[in-house]
């Protein structure tokens, strides 16, 4: 059902969840993408920083080594120095030579911060040392021999100096006799203590860092040897050796020839990011490394920030969707409650309509096996048929009303229920035990498979209609007879009347001289009677013709009609000295000739029944919502109230013919004409003051 709250709620909840999931996915994806991009940028930036540091240091180391070789080259193939060394070696007692050497070498040692400067002879015996100190130089013998053999200034690399286990390195300068280049005298050793400058320099990191350090390594066979003190391991110098097979180690990568930014696990087993590169013209490799954890520690903050933002966004969108959903539910339930209330009111209303309906109502249900079952009825149904519906409920239509069983009515109802035909309306007439009467029945489909039969007892109405039709027919026939009679009578009556009148008058005419006054009077009365009789017959004829000579109605301009009447009455108006005033008159729908006759009668009456003053007649029209009222007022003799009704009746007169001649039929004719037009006639009058005759006519098109 369309208003099931559970299904609707479930559906809207699913909808809200789907919207939330979609929004959430979007937010998370965007967050992750942002984070990845940010991390990539950050890693690249960290790499660039490591490389920059590494390159800086490599550059300085190269410079450092050049300078040290330069120091050595001062003495290399220096004739003055060679002569001085030879003098010193040949004559050890020559203090002058010794003093000169000590002064020279002392300057070098002091100025360039060598830990020790000393001379050894070809037998690797130390002959002079600044500062002075008897130190065995056994470890250096191999270097000395090598140096003398190559005959060039060279480095001796980091090694552990045996006597005191200190780490040293230095520059070897071969010293040759001035006479022949290949006659070696000995070797000048410029010994460097790395702890004074080199190690601090290497270990210096340009920015504060918890884990960053710079390493110097060299290859020894298949090992990488660490050359400087490590930040996280003591006594590592020259003792910590890492296998080159451990390729995760950045030091190994460097030694194996890689260059640039690498990721790996350092000697502590900690993931690091490192910049590796060889130091040119040396056996050294530079490793500038930093723990990944430290590099990305700001990223972690960033990560949590992103996570936090995503969470806030997710929570926010969830809350908004939830609120909207809740709002919708509230509105939904509120509307539902409103609809339910409206439905209840509507049902209540319909129930009261059904209960109080004057029409009988039966409701039927069409079952699957094509039975019409009576399912309900209203009080009017019981009242009209006189059968309590409780004893009919649940029965089929044929069981409930056996009288219908043989008819086509049940099948017709089924067709309506099946929607094969539209609503049906019929009038049925029953003359059997169950029903006696005439019923107006309407059957219509209320809901699918259900019909309502509405019926009224119209027996009395039918009988009344029947009686009315009969009466009307009688009336019509008698009217026809009457008109026929009036016509024939007026023709045939006139013939003998004329004979009487004419011969009485002929008698008078021919025998005037022989008749006395009485005879003449009698003849006069007889003739006068005949004339009056003819006038009456003429009037009767005219009255009957109103019906037989009626013309179809058309638009009539009353102003023109009255104008025509006024021309006909011109003589009478002049004769009586009357003043007739006419207001604007409307157009109406009717028979112009007959309406003219009404005016003629009214105005003639006004002229005829005049008082002592000259007649003043006024014709006016008054508009009402659906009709016009036309009035003809005069200043005549007026009519007493008790006689006002009589004057419209045929042959009714208020005055003797000798006072006011006439047949007494004029107003009757007027009334009949106006009735034909759907209007009314009347009079308002006061004796001796005047009369106001009025008639009404429906407005155009309204009959």
């Amino acid at each position: 059902m369309k208003n099931d709250p559970a299904a609707s709620g479930f559906k809207s909840a699913i909808c809200a969840i789907l919207i939330f999931l979609f929004l959430g996915t979007c937010i998370i994806t965007i967050g992750i993408l942002l984070y990845i991009r940010y991390e990539r940028d950050y890693r690249a930036e960290a790499g660039r920083q490591l490389i920059a540091i590494s390159e800086l240091k490599v550059g300085e180391l190269i410079q450092y080594r050049k300078e040290r070789l330069g120091d050595g080259n001062v003495f290399y193939k220096n004739l003055v120095f060679s002569r001085l060394v030879r003098r010193f070696f040949d004559q050890p007692e020559d203090t002058d030579a010794r003093q000169q050497l000590e002064l020279w070498l002392g300057k070098i040692q002091n100025y360039y911060q060598y830990s020790r400067v000393f001379l050894i002879d070809t037998q690797a015996v130390e002959r002079l040392s600044i500062p002075a100190g008897a130190v065995a130089a056994a470890d250096l013998s191999s270097y000395s021999i090598e140096s003398l053999r190559s005959g060039r200034v060279s480095f001796f690399d980091f090694h552990r100096y045996s006597p005191n286990q200190s780490i040293v390195l230095g520059v070897l300068v071969p010293v040759f006799a001035e006479s022949g280049t290949n006659v070696p005298l000995g070797v000048l050793v410029l010994q460097i203590d790395p702890t004074t400058y080199l190690y601090p320099f290497i270990q210096r990191w340009p920015v504060p860092s918890e884990t960053a350090e710079t390493l110097l390594v060299r290859r020894e066979g298949d090992k990488a040897v660490f050359l400087n003190p490590l930040r996280f391991q003591t006594n590592a110098v020259l003792t910590l050796r890492a296998s080159l097979a451990n390729t995760d180690l950045p030091a190994a990568k460097a030694v194996l020839g890689q260059k640039g930014v690498v990721e790996g696990v350092d000697y502590r087993g900690v993931p690091v990011l490192a910049a590796v590169s060889p130091v040119p013209d040396s056996p050294w490799f530079m490793v500038a490394r930093e723990d990944i954890s430290e590099i990305f520690s700001p990223m972690r903050a960033q990560f949590w920030q992103v996570v936090g933002m995503i969470s806030i966004l997710l929570f926010g969108s969830g809350a908004v969707i939830g609120l909207v959903w809740r709002q919708q539910r509230v509105r939904f339930y509120r509307e539902k409650a409103k609809v339910a209330e409206a439905l209840r009111e509507s049902e209540e209303q319909y129930r009261s309509i059904v209960e109080s309906s004057p029409s009988g109502l039966y409701s039927y249900h069409l079952t699957a096996d094509n039975h019409l079952i009576l399912t309900g009825a209203n009080p009017a149904a019981d009242r009209i048929l006189g059968i309590p519906h409780l004893q009919l409920l649940g029965k089929t239509i044929e069981e409930a009303f056996p009288v219908l069983a043989g008819t086509e009515i049940p099948e017709m109802y089924r067709k309506v229920a099946r929607r094969e035909i539209d609503s049906q309306h019929m009038e049925t007439d029953y003359r059997d035990g169950m029903f006696n009467g005439c019923y107006d029945v309407t059957v219509f489909r209320s809901t699918p498979g259900n019909i309502v039969v509405s019926f009224r007892d119209i027996t009395q109405r039918k009988q009344a209609e029947q009686r009315l039709a009969e009466t009307t027919e009688h009336l019509r026939a008698s009217n026809r007879d009457l008109e026929q009679f009036a016509y024939i009578a007026s023709h045939d009556l006139q013939e003998p009347l004329r004979m009487v009148a004419n011969y009485v008058q002929l008698l008078e005419r021919r025998y005037k001289d022989k008749l006395d006054q009485d005879a003449k009077d009698f003849i006069s009365y007889a003739a006068d009677g005949a004339v009056r009789m003819q006038a009456l017959i003429d009037s009767l004829l005219e009255y009957s013709r109103l019906q037989t000579r009626k013309k179809p109605f058309e638009e009539v301009n009353l102003q023109k009609t009255l104008g025509r009447v006024m021309r006909d009455l011109e003589g009478r108006i002049l004769e009586t000295g009357a003043r007739v005033t006419i207001d604007p008159l409307p157009h109406v729908f009717g028979d112009g000739l007959q309406l003219g006759l009404v005016f003629q009668n009214f105005i003639s009456n006004a002229l005829k029944f005049r008082g002592e003053k000259p007649p003043e007649v006024h014709v006016a029209a008054e508009e009402f919502s659906n009709h016009w009222k036309i009035t003809v007022s005069d200043n005549g003799i007026g009519i007493e109230p008790e006689h006002q009704e009589r004057i419209f009746k045929i042959f009714q007169r208020l005055y003797s013919r000798s006072e006011y001649p006439g047949t007494g039929i004029g107003l009757a004719i007027c009334q009949r004409i106006i009735e034909r037009h759907g209007g009314k006639t009347g009079v308002e009058s006061e004796l001796k003051k005047g009369s106001l005759f009025w008639f009404t006519l429906p407005k155009k098109g309204e009959t």
């Binding site: 013939e495 004419n502 005419r509 004339v531 000579r549």
Partner: protein, 148 residues
């Protein structure tokens, strides 16, 4: 002074009272006339066509025709006269008691020359006859002046 020959008048009228009245009215006029009477439409047509004993009947100068007649109605008589080549030129005056509109309209439609309602007042009837006389004088030609 011109002397008129007598006017030949055919009165078609079934009512003897009216016949007599017409005769009396004509008597009061100066015009010499020969009044012939036909009592119904059939007789009127026989007179006009000079058949069935009317072989010597004169051709009337004027026909006074009542509308309500036995045997053959005045309307039929009028129609026959007005469709007969020889008779249609004779003036016909309709005399009737009825002034019903349709009778009047019908009569003129059939070329009746005049339509007069028989008045109830004798004086007016005599006036009517005088009108007929004037009417006659206005349409009839003076006969050839042979006898003075």
């Amino acid at each position: 002074m011109a002397v008129f020959r007598a006017i030949e008048i055919l009165l078609v009228e079934d009512n003897p009272g009216d016949v007599r009245l017409t005769q009396e009215a004509l008597k009061e006029n100066k015009i010499r006339n020969n009044l012939h009477v036909a009592k119904d439409g059939v007789e009127a047509m026989q007179f006009l066509r000079r058949i069935n004993g009317y072989n010597d009947a004169p051709r009337p100068d004027l026909i006074l025709l009542d509308l309500n007649l036995p045997k053959k109605d005045g309307r039929e008589v009028l129609a026959e006269i007005k469709t007969d080549e020889n008779l249609r030129s004779i003036p016909v005056v309709i005399l009737t008691t009825s002034d019903a509109e349709e009778d009047v309209a019908n009569a003129y439609q059939m070329y009746a020359n005049c339509y007069i309602r028989k008045p109830i007042d004798l004086n007016r009837f005599i006036d009517v006859v005088k009108v007929i006389e004037n009417f006659w004088l206005s349409i009839v030609e003076l006969p050839p002046n042979g006898d003075n």
